[in-house]
């Protein structure tokens, strides 16, 4: 597919924003600014970007513990994301969710989810809303290779197919679940092959190539919008860092393996391609990078200077219909 110039710029901005957000976030985590574990998605930028390029705020995504990239690609504000990780009142979830629960319902982002696989049926449900209400919205479920072990994925794909729902199952196969290689845990050649068990199209895509992802996602999403039902896309990709901030990945994967993926870096790939095909100027790329670099400084500053939530926040937001009294049972 031809990608319109605006969209191209958006894609570069988005990938670079994800990259820089994750780098900044890790840096801040190591400085002790995060209040909990963080999972960086850097290396995996092309997937969420190529997919969300086809979505608007009226479409919905569900996500995982490694959700920052999905959030950014869905248009969330880096400031409020960073503030959330810092546990601040200005955070996306008032500091009550943290890195693993960032959500923005105004953007159709149904939340990162820290239970592996548990976010998947939420996207199916969003697609059900779309169908039920006659919207042309779609739902996209992001999940990792490790989530392929979970029964709820199977149930979600079967249900989506039975009800012919407008949903895309986007498996980010970064080849590891914690330290467990996908070849060990997932008893099939290509994950995309499992699509046939649900009579839906399945395709394996180079997850380091935003153009390839854009094409595959475009087809799947168009199909969903046409009312033809769900699809499965497997994105072969790689996380550049450890499973979580303190993980040392060299205990289970080699430097050579890492290098081979870095050699196919999604952002560099994209830069080369737009240069070769004269799709974007170097100046434009540089300007975007500069802008994002500043955005990250601003995000950290915003997060840093934001207030902590009031202690009363402990008790609010449990129910819609009543507030929880203050003091627990003490």
């Amino acid at each position: 597919m031809d990608i319109p110039p605006d969209k191209l710029a958006w894609m570069y901005t988005t990938m670079y924003r994800i990259r820089r957000f994750e780098e900044t976030m890790l840096e801040q985590t190591f400085k002790g600014k995060s209040m909990g574990v963080t999972h960086s998605s850097d290396g995996q930028e092309a997937g969420p970007t190529g997919i969300c390029a086809h979505l608007t705020d009226k479409d919905w995504i569900s996500s995982t513990h490694r959700g920052h990239g999905h959030c950014i690609a869905k248009g969330l504000d880096a400031k409020r994301m960073m503030a959330e990780i810092f546990g601040k009142a200005t955070g996306q979830c008032k500091g009550k969710g943290g890195s693993m629960h960032i959500a923005d319902f105004t953007k159709g982002m149904l939340g990162a989810n820290a239970i592996v696989g548990a976010g998947i049926p939420l996207a199916v449900g969003a697609a059900l809303t779309a169908k039920y209400k006659g919207y042309d919205s779609v739902g996209v479920a992001f999940f990792g290779d490790g989530a392929n072990g979970q029964g709820v994925l199977h149930e979600s794909m079967n249900l989506a197919s039975v009800w012919k729902l407008p949903v895309v199952f986007a498996c980010e196969n970064n080849h590891y679940a914690e330290a467990t290689p996908v070849e060990y845990a997932v008893a099939v050649g290509d994950i995309a092959d499992r699509a046939q068990s649900y009579s839906m199209p399945g395709v394996t895509v180079d997850g380091m190539d935003a153009f390839a992802v854009y094409d595959a996602a475009g087809e799947a999403i168009a199909r969903a919008r046409r009312g033809e039902g769900p699809s499965l896309i497997e994105l072969k990709t790689y996380r550049y860092h450890g499973h979580f901030h303190a993980d040392e990945p060299h205990k289970y994967r080699s430097k050579e393996e890492e290098d081979s993926w870095h050699a196919r870096d999604a952002i560099r790939n994209f830069e080369t391609r737009v240069a070769e095909q004269a799709l974007m100027s170097q100046d434009r790329l540089t300007a975007i990078r500069k802008e994002i670099d500043q955005e990250m400084l601003d995000a950290v500053e915003f997060a840093e200077n934001s207030p902590m939530p009031h202690l009363d926040e402990l008790y609010s937001d449990v129910y819609v219909s009543y507030s929880n009294p203050l003091q627990g049972l003490r």
Binding site: W60, S62, G91, Q92, C93, K94, G95, K96, G97, H101, A103, D104, F105, L110, G111, N113, I115, A118, I120, P121, L122, A123, V124, G125, A126, A127, L128, T129, A130, Y132, K133, G139, G151, V152, H154, E155, S156, N158, L159, V162, W163, S316, D317, V318, Y319, V320, S321, Y322, S323, N324, P325, Q327, G328, L329
Partner: protein
């Protein structure tokens, strides 16, 4: 005020047995079905999903209407597909986690799903979706969203369904912040509570005890709701408070009537909701009677019977003249044999006996 109590909003329950309004004797089963129908008519965002809630999904009968081959577990959804069609009455594959999760996703995005989980035991299959998504989304996302889903399922023993189809663990659900759990005890209350649940913006589980489903009671013609988090008095009395919930509420009422013949004047509280919990109603009662017996069919440890006892022992301690008694099922799974099953479930004799022991008569 306690942690978990709803604000003391005025409770409007002007209708019901003893009230002078048009109505008729109706079965719980029929009332349930009619309430679903009312709510489907009332709000186009309401739809129902579950296994075989129509059955034979997607096919049509001789008149070309959607086939209603099964009528839903316990006939709850009987005839609905014919009037509301397969978009609103959605048969699911057998995949409780998947379809409950989908219901949560639908609720997060602007609809109001009602989920039939068939037997209460199957909550366990979908437990993570209930706990981690339905109950927690509002809080962990900082109040950005709501999860207006209603779940219902058939609980309890008494029908020979044995260990895996007789669960009653509403205490497990009441333990979970973010969920609401109601335990209607007759046709009148299931109508009001189910309607309230469907209109509520929080996730609510409606427990339908199997032994109640064929009972009959007075049900007003016009639609009404009962406040979630409010109990009711089934009988006023001064000698002892007896607390029931779900099936044990009529058991307590009958026991109290038996006791009345022996000169013991028991007050009977029907909890109706176990989360939020109407602490006031039983605390007020104990303040009057100074004695309490709590009757719960569920197994005892960390049960709703325990919770009521804990609340009383903290907040009405000074009124108590005697130990707090729990009458519950034993710490065992539900047995199959009818005699064993009957021995499991608290009955009137057990309740009356416990009360008499407590009063030393």
């Amino acid at each position: 005020m306690t942690t978990t109590e709803a604000p003391a909003a005025a409770s409007h329950q002007p209708l019901g047995p003893g009230f002078d309004v048009p109505g008729r004797e109706t079965t719980y089963r029929e009332t349930f079905n009619r309430t679903l129908r009312d709510e489907l008519n009332r709000d186009p965002d309401v739809f129902i999903m579950g296994e075989d809630i129509a059955g034979g999904a997607g096919r049509t009968d001789e008149e070309g209407k959607p086939l209603d081959a099964w009528g839903g577990p316990f006939a709850a959804t009987k005839g609905l597909i014919q009037d509301f069609g397969p978009e609103r009455i959605r048969d699911t594959p057998i995949s409780e986690a998947g379809f409950l999760g989908a219901a949560v996703g639908a609720a997060l995005t602007g609809t109001r799903p009602v989920v039939d989980l068939m037997y209460f035991d199957f909550v366990a299959v979908a437990f993570d979706q209930l706990l981690s998504n339905a109950a927690k989304s509002r809080y962990m996302f900082g109040g950005q969203t709501k999860v207006p889903i209603t779940m219902f399922a058939r609980s309890g023993g008494g029908t020979g369904h044995a260990a895996q189809h007789s669960s009653n663990f509403y205490s497990i659900l009441a333990h979970i912040p973010g969920l609401k759990v109601v335990v209607p005890s007759d046709a009148y209350t299931v109508r009001g509570l189910l309607a309230a649940a469907i209109r509520d913006d929080d996730p609510v589980m409606v427990c339908n005890h199997k032994k109640l489903i064929n009972t009959t009671g007075f049900v007003p013609d016009q639609s009404y709701t009962i406040d979630i988090g409010k109990g009711r008095l089934l009988r006023e009395g001064k000698d002892v408070t007896i607390v029931g919930m779900s099936w044990t509420s009529p058991v307590c009422k009958n026991a109290a009537e038996q006791l009345a013949k022996e000169g013991i004047d028991a007050e009977v509280v029907d909890l109706l909701s176990v989360s939020p919990l109407d602490e006031e109603i039983f605390l007020d009662s104990v303040a009057k009677t100074n004695r309490i017996v709590i009757v719960d069919e569920d197994t005892p440890r960390a049960s709703m019977a325990s919770e009521v006892a804990a609340v009383v022992s903290e907040k009405a301690f000074d009124y108590l003249d005697a130990p707090i008694k729990r009458v519950t099922g034993p710490h065992t799974p539900m047995p199959y044999n009818r005699g064993l099953e009957a021995a499991f479930i608290p009955d009137e004799a057990a309740v009356a006996g416990t009360v008499k022991n407590l009063l030393n008569v």
